[in-house]
Symmetry: C2
Subunit: 155 residues, 2 copies
DNA sequence: TCCCTTATTGATAATGGTTTTCATTATCAA
DNA sequence: TTGATAATGAAAACCATTATCAATAAGGGA
């Protein structure tokens, strides 16, 4: 598979959903691809302005909304009043599926991939059962642990 | 165990954390105790005004913040722009531990207790491992499934 | 390649849940 | 009962997100 095809896979997804391919959308997706952090809309805005100085914050929000709706991006709430966005693992991102550990004191977030196998297995089973019982088409899930991180507990 | 003791158990918790016992706090906790729904701050405000007409919305938020910090109440985000609050199961509330199924279209939330046993078991194991590895004192967790409910998918 | 329709965009105002401010009131230890 | 101070209500401030609107750009068709 050539590089060109890899870079363009998301264009087909956009067009398939009736959306146009624009420079803004490309660069926002690019910013999400190039990081393993959970970015806020403003984080993305600042990162993207380097390559596209004229872009507006509203475009960031509008694009993120589309990407979340299409299932390309996850939107998280870590309790600090602003949403965080993360690219769903996909053909152009080799990041393992992970869950989050959130410090309710300093708001630090740790990604963990340990124990994930068991979690995924159980979730698959639960999803199946829930889908049937509640007639619910489950798209994704969130598992988060809240507590106090090492830094905060020793102060 | 007399009824009086049951009604007052939270007073000790408040005092123990250096907080005063007030009519507002009692009535807010009471509102959370008397429902099995996930209430927003405004829901609580409206419910509480019946018994305490002069209470202000700011007091609701301030009290909820304390209760969450003390671990008596869970704060949830279901993606509709307002936080929801739920009493943690405790001595004065006989509600089973549950997780949530959230419709991303109509924002409906279904509580489920099926499959909970397996989830709890796995979470306990995961918690133990994570606490140790990341030196994290885990207080609680969130498991939520997102998707499209039956109502929305048939329209 | 050039139009033409219309989705998209940037700038900005508006929205609305939540937090802060501050003077007043209530709690509770002494 | 009293005094120190935590808690409260009303209102303003805050601030992430959304809506508005005129200008611009994407892309299908000629």
């Amino acid at each position: 598979m050539g590089r060109g095809r890899r870079d363009l896979w998301w264009q087909g997804r956009l067009r398939g959903c009736g959306y146009r391919v624009t420079a803004g959308r490309e660069i926002i997706l690019d910013a999400l691809t190039k990081t393993d952090k959970h970015l806020s809309a403003e984080d993305i805005y600042l990162a993207v302005r380097k390559a596209c100085p004229g872009i507006g914050l509203a475009t960031i929000y509008r694009t993120l909304e589309i990407l979340v709706e299409m299932g390309l991006v996850f939107k998280f709430d870590f309790g600090d009043g602003r949403a965080r966005y993360e690219l769903v693992e996909g053909p152009n991102k080799e990041v393992a599926h992970h869950h989050h550990l959130v410090c309710t004191n300093c708001k630090r977030v740790i990604d963990y991939t340990d124990f994930i196998e068991d979690e995924i297995e159980l979730l698959a089973k639960t999803e199946k059962g829930l889908s049937k019982k509640y007639n619910f088409d489950i798209k994704n899930h969130v598992i988060q642990f809240y507590g106090i991180c090492g830094n905060c507990s020793t102060k």
